[in-house]
């Protein structure tokens, strides 16, 4: 459990968030080491997505600290946190539906754009080299996700499974160190889920990523995660290896209720 500080990529200490009188998260502490694939599970309404929203800056934490890559990011704006190296997908897909598949991915590369607004407005040579580089990189990412042949399609017209994959591709394009996936396999059939998991395992190696994954499919979480955190009613109730979690009475209670 105790890791040397050099290896820790994300360190959350006593993070709380309340909405009015409702405490959505109370004093959650967790850490993720570089290169780990961590699962975050819990019953509906446990605060999993709220935790994601804190980590990515959608809301600032009411109290507590969030350290990403040795830098405090609690309360930073989402676009800054993204640039610090944390990219996410959304539980309810948030693609730019009226833009093409390629443009969706290009958006994530915008932060690395080398050409300024004025070179673009005047179509100076730097605009073309900058845009060309972005297009090239975006196509490379699409190829990895087998979406390259649909680059000209509107994102909103793609199949549900492909939309999920595109969202991951887009998150990856931002060049993150930490990838936060909010139920990436939601609504997929078992075959699609298996393919997706293989893909996630592969990109983790290829891009040297650390991944935090929210998922409801237990077999999936148990199969791929190094460690698992369990949230219930805004509190962390367990953490450990998949085997430990499977046998933890508190977790069983949270999911199935107390024995009569």
């Amino acid at each position: 459990m105790t890791a040397s500080t050099a290896e820790v990529l994300l360190d959350v200490q006593q993070a709380s968030r309340s909405f009015g009188g409702l405490k959505a998260l109370s004093e959650v502490s967790l850490h993720i080491n570089r290169g780990e694939l961590i699962g975050l599970i819990g019953p509906n309404g446990a605060g999993k997505t709220t935790l994601f929203n804190l980590l990515t800056g959608v809301y600032p934490p009411s109290s507590g600290s969030i350290i990403l890559n040795n830098e405090s990011v609690g309360g930073m704006k989402p676009f800054r946190i993204n640039r610090k190296g944390a990219a996410r997908t959304f539980q309810n897909i948030r693609l730019f539906t009226a833009m093409t598949v390629l443009d969706n991915v290009k958006i994530a590369f915008h932060q690395h754009a080398k050409h300024s607004m004025f070179t673009s407005m005047l179509r100076l040579p730097k605009h073309f080299s900058g845009e060309g580089e972005i297009t090239q990189k975006a196509m490379d990412i699409l190829k990895i996700f087998n979406l390259a042949d649909q680059f000209d399609e509107l994102a909103g017209n793609m199949s549900y499974g492909n939309q999920r994959r595109l969202e991951i591709a887009r998150a990856l394009a931002a060049g993150p160190k930490l990838l936060l996936l909010d139920e990436p396999a939601a609504g997929m059939n078992p075959n699609e889920t298996r393919d997706l998991m293989n893909l996630i395992a592969w990109i983790r190696e290829e891009f040297d990523l650390t991944i935090l994954l929210i998922e409801h499919d237990m077999s999936l979480v148990m199969g791929v995660c190094d460690r698992i955190y369990v949230l219930d009613r805004g509190m962390l109730i367990a953490d450990g290896s998949p085997l430990e979690i499977r046998n933890n009475p508190k977790v069983i209670e949270a999911y199935l209720g107390q024995e009569a």
């Binding site: 989402p78 676009f79 993204n82 990219a87 607004m117 005047l122 845009e131 060309g132 390259a148």
Partner: protein, 318 residues
């Protein structure tokens, strides 16, 4: 790279041919002075519609204060040429920059608002500008300024319109423009993907205001007089209608919308009693049968004329 450029150059050539044809018609006298005024009015409205489209259609920030930016440009340029003898083109540039500054000033506090709330805030801004002008002695109060040198010629007007369309279109079709479209499509996702949404909203407002201000200056130097009454919220709505009629989110749509409505207005001026009825009826029919505008949101592109469509895979392999 050259493929990316092709549609751009076809557009430029088309514009040059259009200018040449109209110039010939004007010099040979086939088009009279009234026609020239109409053409200039069309160009002013094209500038206004294209710049408003950047704010409303591309960035998705529903603004209805465009006449406010236009009036700032008109007054600033008129004062500069009347009272300070500033050269015309320089006065236009300054008036555009002042309007852009107002765009930023208005943008910072109001862009926290979304949708209807932003619309009302920008409407309020436009009215405040008008009331301030109405009550300022220096700019002539209700009677406004008159005797502004009529220096806006067809050539100058066409040139400024072309620059507006090209610059805004270049902006839209770049990574920076895509950032604006992403804000329209899904602000939360755009921000999560590293787009500084506040900055890009302000940029859109500033750019839109810049060209609206220049358009205001050009119109002041065409029509000799300006007064606060001509920049009321009806003017803002008129510009908005042009954008929506042409197709929200497409530059070509905004151009077509501006041309169609300006021509319609000019033609209907001969029937003052029926004017508003026909105008309203057309808008209603339009929204029923073509709710996405004359050209839809994708618009029309000269790309279709380029022999081979630019495919990113081509440029990668070559």
């Amino acid at each position: 790279m050259k493929k990316l450029n092709k549609s751009f150059w076809i557009g430029i050539v088309f514009a040059m041919v259009l200018y040449g044809v109209i110039q010939i018609l004007l010099t040979t006298g086939i088009f009279d002075d009234v026609m020239e005024s109409t053409l200039i009015l069309i160009c002013i409205n094209v500038m206004l519609a294209v710049s408003l489209n950047l704010i409303n259609g591309i960035t998705g920030q529903f603004s209805i204060g465009h006449a406010g930016f236009m009036s700032i440009g008109a007054y600033v340029s008129a004062i500069l040429t009347l009272n300070f003898d500033v050269p015309f083109v320089l006065a236009l540039v300054i008036s555009g920059l002042v309007a852009a500054l107002f765009g930023v000033l208005i943008g910072i506090p109001t862009l926290r608002l979304n949708g209807d709330y932003l619309a009302i805030a920008t409407l309020g801004f436009g009215e405040i500008i008008r009331i301030v002008l109405l009550n300022t002695e220096y700019v002539g109060g209700a009677s406004g300024l008159s005797g502004i040198p009529t220096q806006t010629t067809w050539t100058i007007m066409f040139l400024f319109t072309l620059v507006t369309v090209v610059v805004i279109n270049n902006f839209i079709n770049s990574s920076h423009g895509r950032a604006c479209i992403a804000i329209r499509e899904n602000e939360i996702a755009a921000e999560a993907m590293g787009i500084n949404t506040t900055l890009y909203k302000i940029i859109a407002f500033a750019l839109g205001a810049l060209f609206a201000g220049i358009a205001g200056g050009l119109s002041a130097h065409k029509f000799y007089v300006i007064n606060p009454g001509s920049f009321n919220f009806l003017k803002s709505f008129e510009i908005l209608v042009m954008v929506v009629l042409g197709g929200l989110g497409s530059t070509s749509g905004a151009i077509v919308g501006a041309i169609v409505l300006t021509v319609l207005f000019t033609v209907l001026q001969e029937y003052p009693e029926l004017r508003m009825i026909i105008y309203s009826a057309i808008l209603i029919l339009m929204m029923i049968f073509r709710p996405k505008g004359l050209l839809g949101s994708t618009g029309f592109s000269f790309k279709k004329f380029a022999k081979k469509e630019a495919k990113p895979s081509d440029s990668i392999n070559s």
